[in-house]
């Protein structure tokens, strides 16, 4: 497991994650209001007491930005078969408005 650095003095939430199978476990590192006693008697400062609590399991589908890359490449390679010439495309689009103008209008209307 990878552990994020713990900032002392403040009860901040930290995360660490581990991978198992196709999931990423996300943990919150939270401040625990507990006092521990050890022998020899020594009261452990609770400010530094943290515990990991599992929050959610996320599939790699939601955490890996390259998830689905193979499928996308497959789509591209499949679609690219028997592509018409660029001249043929120009024939199709000759009667159409500017595609660039359409794209920019759509974008500017975000």
């Amino acid at each position: 497991m990878e552990t994020a650095a713990i900032q002392s003095g403040h009860p901040l939430v930290e995360e660490k994650s581990s991978t198992k199978d196709n999931y990423v476990k996300v943990y919150n590192l939270t401040f625990v209001d507990k006092w521990y006693f050890y022998f020899p008697p020594n009261l452990v400062n609770p400010l530094y007491q943290y515990e990991y609590k599992e929050v959610v399991q996320l599939p790699l589908r939601l955490t890996n930005p390259l998830y689905g890359r193979e499928e996308l490449d497959e789509w591209i390679n499949d679609k690219a078969k028997n592509a018409p010439s660029i001249e043929k495309i120009w024939e199709i689009t000759a009667r159409l408005p500017s595609l660039t103008k359409m794209l920019l209008e759509d974008r500017n209307n975000e």
Partner: protein, 161 residues
């Protein structure tokens, strides 16, 4: 052999003959290295889909066959290009670029503009001879790009090309 980063608006110049199309076409026909951002797939495909299902005027609608032809041509083109993935580093850096552009009186208006510019600037850090090709002459994007790179690194395909 030169390197070019095609913003989505440059892509669409390829598929309809108009000012600047010949230059864009030459990039594809020549021995150049062409880069694009993965998000451009989304933008360009949306335009093509709109021509089929949401045309501006009824007589400008394309058929399903024509739609598939356009998609097919686009797929062939990007097959030969280098796809830049929009990374988490780019998400973080995009705000830095937005801030710097803003401080220089250049407002990056849309999120896609910001994504494209960020991707280009980071790609340029890895390929310092990379040109930015953007067809939007009047855009905030061009003005913002000029904050970060020389004018000579920016190509606006117009009738002058």
């Amino acid at each position: 052999m030169s390197k070019y980063f095609l913003e989505s608006s440059a892509f669409t110049k390829r598929y309809k003959l108009e000012d600047g199309s010949i230059f864009i076409n030459q990039l594809f026909e020549g021995e150049h290295t062409l880069f694009y951002l993965n998000l451009a797939i989304l933008e360009v495909r949306k335009v093509i889909f709109r021509l089929w299902k949401r045309p501006l005027k009824q007589d400008n609608q394309i058929s399903e066959r024509e739609y598939n032809n356009l998609e097919s041509r686009f797929a062939t083109d990007i097959q030969k290009m280098i796809r830049v993935e929009f990374s988490e580093e780019m998400i973080k850096k995009s705000l830095e670029f937005l801030k710097k552009a803003s401080e220089n009186n250049a407002w990056i208006k849309t999120s896609f503009d910001l994504a494209q510019l960020t991707a280009y600037l980071i790609a340029k850090e890895e390929n310092n001879d990379l040109f930015f090709v953007c067809a939007d002459e009047c855009s905030y994007l061009i003005k913002a790009a000029k904050v970060f790179v020389n004018d000579s690194d920016i190509i606006i395909p117009t009738k002058n090309f």
